[in-house]
Amino acid sequence: MNESLHRELTLPVHGMSCASCVSHVEGALRGLPSVSDVIVNLGTNTASLRYDPAVVTLADMRKAVDDVGYGVATAELTLEVRGMTCSSCVSHVEGALLGLEGVSAAVVNLDAATARVTYVPGVVTPRLMRKAVSDVGYEAQERAGGADALDRERQARGDEIRRQGRNLLIAGGAGLVIMIGTFYDMLGPLKAFVPVWLSYKWVIGLMTTPIVFGPGRQFFTNSWRGLKHGVTDMNLLYATGIGAAYGIAVINTLFPKAGFGGEGATFFESAALLTAFIILGRWLEALTRGRTSEAIRKLMKLQPKIARVVRSGVEEVIPADEVEIGDLILVRPGEGVPVDGQVKDGYSAVDESMLTGESLPVEKRAGDPVIGGTLNKTGAFRFEATRVGKDTALAQIIRLVEDAQASKAPIQKLADWVAGHFILGVHVLAVVVFVFWFFFGYRTFFDPNSAFILSPYALGEIGVFGFSLLLSVTVLVISCPCAVGLATPSAMMAGTGKAAEYGVLFKGAEAIENASKLQVVVFDKTGTLTKGEPSVTDIIVAPGVSESVLVGLAGAAEKNSEHPLGEAIVRGAEARGVALRETEAFNSIPGHGVEARVGGREVLLGNRKLMAERQVDFSGLLAEAERLEGEGKTVMFIAADYAPAGLIAVADTLKDHSAEAIERLHKMGIETVMITGDNRRTAEAIARQVGIDRVLAEVLPQDKASEVKQLQALGKKVAMVGDGVNDAPALAQSNVGMAIGSGTDVAKETGDVILIKDDLRDVIVALEVARATMRKVKQNLFWAFIYNTLGIPLAAGLLYPFLALVISPEVAGLMMAISSLTVTLNTLLLKGFRPSVRRGDGMRAETAASPRMLTAGQPAGD
């Protein structure tokens, strides 16, 4: 099979409510030929997969998902089509649209000049549809008011909330009346307000029936569809529970002498309230589930809808997704930047915090890059579009966060497996419980005065079958691990979203799980701990020479140099406000330095060898030179008119927050290691200044991965932080590879975590978010399983011989609803999480503020 022909696809799936649904949808899709890497995410309601379009079609996938009781969500869109004149135009346009993968129906109306398209969002976009229509010779435009992806997502969620809300209103309202009727005898003085006929069994039965066959019907139809295809899910537990309670109640009402317990054992209220509570759980889930993916919605909202494009000197407002590369775009104060580009003219400050987490507005002037989705604050500017559509930084970030949210952490795979096999186990347990109480328990322990928990009703005349069935049904209902399916993905979604808010992008849930377990963080030196470019650290002048003269001569001599050390000297001179004169003559001496004439003076700048060759006596400054070299700095000798003028030392500099980041990592109990191609003396000098625990020096780029491997061989979980340029093998070898300072072209980055800003403190943000997320996952799994763990023995009647109390099915249903609610609310607490770096706690201000000079010359290996 040719892997290169395989495509990746993310399908929106609806109807899933639990972990077993996830495994069923995964199983159905995996069963299709050529389909691989199937990952279904309950939190995002998506299935991502790889497939060979020549072997399997989207229709096959939709059918497979439909067959196991779920559905692939579709959306509708109306295109206004111009240029159609006859029926053959209609078939051309329809053919073009239907030829697109992801379009399931296209109906063209010639009179109205419209095309109504039903399609799978995420597989095909309106832009592709417009292009397809345009390719066959017509013009298409999305009808104004058409919903975009964000609106559709919100609409789908709103529909589900409304559907379950309607069901809840019916089941809950009627259930309340049924409960009043059932407990009529206990109402005391309130009886005067309740008609007596409400307590008649047949009335209660009549009111229960529409609940079971109305709002409760979804459980029966879904479980039957699944059963037919060999799958079981939570719906089956509910259907069996509700069905059994209702069936027995009907028999006991219509045939009280049949021996099922008679009128004293009608469970209409159980069937009604169980349905109501399960639907309450579904409604609460629908209400809260979408809130965990708020990060994506926030990012989507950033996408400006329009752009002011300047074409032929005329400003026109067009949809942002129609901007093309090379377009000149005007951005006014307060407006969003529609796409990525480069400023051509104008000046402004742009708020990029939404994408990079950088809190201060970034100044923009000609030549600076701008990012689509950011907000222009003060001035106006014009920029040229360089990346549009799916290539913009914002689109890439959204895709990356979506992919991460669609992926599965190892812990979730285990939870899904357990939940998936749980249901069958529960049915086996229900048989065991029934058989035990039927043949042994009832005869031995039954007490007619025993009652339901939280109910004053005694079980009274219930027979052996009714009692055994009651316990069996309660076991089914209480065992439902519905919250398990939400526990991990909801926390992962919240965690990846939270990290994205701070400019930290996790590429998958596994990266979060691994990052939470890290023990060692290995830093690449150049470009990661340090700025990766040398700067002037020391200036030593010869007697009679001022610093400004020395720097002026050196800067002027190096003005035209492209050597990194020369550039450092020029930057150093500029930083000191020294005006650099033009050179009258310039000559580069390879391997030695440069010679130039500046203001009539012969200037030599270079190494010791150059001075020796030109017989310039530097003996008076040699001690200083040796001291600086001992610190690992690169020393340059400057002579004017063949007399020593002074020394300039150049070294790499630490990034602003390197030392603070290392100190914070130590506080978190993380061991820090620096890996570099520099010699040991230089490397150790750097390590001392930044506070690194351990140094791996003189490591060639190709050997970095094996150094990481050696650390892992000691049983340590290792993260590698690098700029991704020559660290790719080491990033891949580590448990978590972090690419730092990648800017906004995130799609090209290697590594499991991408730190958009060039700020090492984001390593701490990544680790803290990962730890907080995994804490949340574990708490959620605890809350999801604790109800089952405690509830099953109670429901099975384990305490009945001692307490003579049983849990009624409706209380079991309520516990399950509370379980789901607890998990979702617990996850929402993560929204308030702030990394310590952003809280600014525990660290001295100066560690963050002062850049330090380092003892590095040009690095050998990194």
Partner: protein
């Protein structure tokens, strides 16, 4: 898998899970009769409940296995 194949899977798996669940229900009925003292309704009701749960347990397991076998 086309509709014909699906019908075949359903037929083949039913030939397996129905006898198993009916056997379990039959065993229950036999045990209830042997133990004695149970009203007819309890015996019949219990048999139906055991059959239903046994079917629910065996149906998906066997259907999935038959489907896998047919796909191979």
């Amino acid at each position: 898998m086309d509709e014909g194949q699906e019908r075949e899977v359903a037929r083949r798996s039913a030939r397996l899970y129905l006898p198993i669940s009916l056997g379990a229900a039959g065993l229950f009925l036999l045990a209830a009769n042997l133990a004695g003292g149970y009203p007819v309704v309890a015996r019949i009701g219990g048999t139906v409940w055991v059959w239903l749960l046994s079917t629910i347990v065996t149906m998906p397991v066997i259907t999935a296995r038959v489907k896998r076998g047919l796909v191979r």
